[in-house]
């Protein structure tokens, strides 16, 4: 079993040069026709702005702390002048992202089993390690939210937004037509976001006086930084391997 890659030559009908005669004809006709109404692409922006002004509460809100103890703790934060819901919202976001991350690496492991790896590419052990890290980060965030009296099962607005932003990542990995190299490209998107978001979370926690929490998050960031370096390396070597392959070869052979 083999898998063609992004860069193999074949029939592709999307370009204008595929149909020289017809394209000339439709270009001429499009040039002759006038738009039905005046204006430009800014008209769309006007409608968007109108809806933004009427958007009310936005996506949704952060749920109130679940336990009495947590309420007391949150009240202390409020006295310090902080708005604890911001931290809870971002913790909820990270938790959801890490949990989704586990599913992403499960998907990558399936790709590895079918398509195999390449020189400098991911091994099963490393993929498993990252998966385990994501799980333990999920556990860390659950614990942190519980300590703050928040409900770790709640979907916070930032968790929702992040899942909308990254909707394509699980879709790219679960597509049976993509190989491990292409899945790595999707993992890169996830890891870049992950790193930047942990950095932000650490600053936020420290700023609110949660130093112990921030220290523990720094360990998570260390692990994430390594994930990012690994994924970048796998992708670089994967692309290079592909580019060096002869024009007519299918570059990624499957392991039995």
């Amino acid at each position: 079993m083999s898998k063609d890659t992004l860069a193999d030559v074949g029939m592709n009908r999307t370009g204008i040069k595929t149909s020289p005669v017809d394209s000339k004809d439709i270009i001429a006709e499009a040039e002759r026709a006038e738009p039905s109404s005046p204006g430009d692409a800014r008209a769309i922006a006007e409608v968007r702005k109108q809806y933004m002004r009427e958007a009310g509460d936005g996506l949704g809100r952060v749920p109130p702390p679940a336990s009495l103890k947590g309420m007391a703790k949150t009240a202390v934060d409020m006295l310090k002048g902080g708005k604890p819901t911001v931290l809870i919202d971002k913790l909820g976001e990270r938790l959801a992202f890490e949990r989704t991350g586990v599913r992403l690496y499960e998907g990558a492991l399936s790709k590895l089993e079918v398509f195999g790896s390449w020189e400098g590419g991911p091994s099963r052990e490393l993929l498993m390690k990252i998966l385990d890290d994501e799980l333990s980060h999920f556990a860390l965030l659950t614990e942190a939210l519980e300590k703050l009296g928040a409900d770790p099962t709640a979907m916070t607005p930032s968790a929702d937004l992040t899942s909308v932003i990254s909707m394509g990542v699980p879709a790219a990995i679960s597509d049976p037509r993509t190989n491990l190299r292409q899945a790595t490209q999707a993992l890169l998107v996830a890891e870049l976001t992950d790193n930047a978001s942990w950095e932000l979370l650490i600053d936020l926690a420290r700023g609110l006086g949660h130093d112990t929490l921030a220290d523990r998050f720094t360990l998570a960031l260390d692990a994430e930084a390594e994930h990012l370096a690994l994924v970048k390396g796998w992708l670089a070597s994967g692309v290079a391997t592909e580019a060096r392959a002869p024009m007519d070869s299918a570059s990624v052979p499957a392991q039995p």
């Binding site: 959801a96 890290d133 659950t142 699980p170 360990l219």
Partner: protein, 401 residues
Amino acid sequence: MALDLFKEKGVPVERQAFTWKDLVRRPYSKMDDDAFTRTRVILMNGIEADALRMKHIFARLSLELRPHLALVRRAEHHQQTLVNWLTPPDQKVIETTLGFEQLAIEVTASVAIHEPDPYLAQTYRFGMLEDFDHLYRYSALYDRLEGQDPNNITQSYTDIIPGRPTSVEHRHPLDDLRRPYDRKAADPLSKLHAMTITASEFQTHDYYMTVGPTFTDPVARQLYAEIASIEEQHVTQYGSLMDPGESLLEKWMLHEAMEVYNYHSCLAYETNPRIKEVWQRFVDYELGHLHYVMELFKSLEQRDPAEVLPRTLPEPIAFKEHREFVRKVLSQEVDMRSDGTEYVDKSQLPPDHRTLVYQAQLNSEGSPSETAAAGYKWRPGTELAAKAERMGSVLEGRRLQ
């Protein structure tokens, strides 16, 4: 106060106007609004879709009714748009799907409880257990595809556990047909129920057929294909409850009454004031449609609408959890199967029964619903929560070599 269908005239069809801005308004919140607001939006989209579908088919069958159908249908198309566009754009397809199944469970349960005819009530209980299982299968898929918690959508109103396994729901088409109610003898509520559930299942079928291919995951594509097939069976089942002896106008008039009934039920339970206003407006619009058709019924069929319609609307459909009822039905009727139009225990079907032969062939290359939910147990925070607990947090600082 019960709504008097004969006294309340609503808004006349010619005054039912919309603008694009009116049609595309602020959606509800996926996270902050009650799960039943989501299910009501789904239900009413389905009811309006059915109103359009029925009117298009009737227009093919009757030149006389065609202009009248066109007039009312246009208003209903825009009602459907306004309702369906209340769906928030951050609600993913699979999340809307969970909403569809929750709706099917809770509304069918309410209908089963209030249905006066025992055979019809049994049909609703039978179908409900199947949709109940679909919620469990899609929940497993949601958890396993994205690592997300299905209860974020269902909000602890509905159990996420297996029902009658989807893999055994596949029946020979002739075992999905049911005995219709008798148009002269049936309680008007029975007619409203049959139309409501048929409409709801029809939209579920159409939705799954539309969104199934948008998934990249092959198990998701298979699961939507499998459950869409059951929804087609459900449409066959519920659609066959209706008496084919009703005239087109009689069916149309009943459908409008059913639409009033459904909007009125939504209105009774809605907690979001912006959405409540929509339900109130459309109760009034549907009353306008109903009276339009009542006049046609009198003039074209020379019949009194009171022969067919209830004077006042029955108790609203209950948009609330029915866990106790569902659990009881599950424990008593999960092994029910269907043989022609009748219900029997699974032990009564001979091994060469047409349904078993049909089922074995369909499942012969594997069962998507079994694959998606293999070993699945929902728990708060997804099935990964248990694994994460065992794994422990990064207190010691996990490092890669």
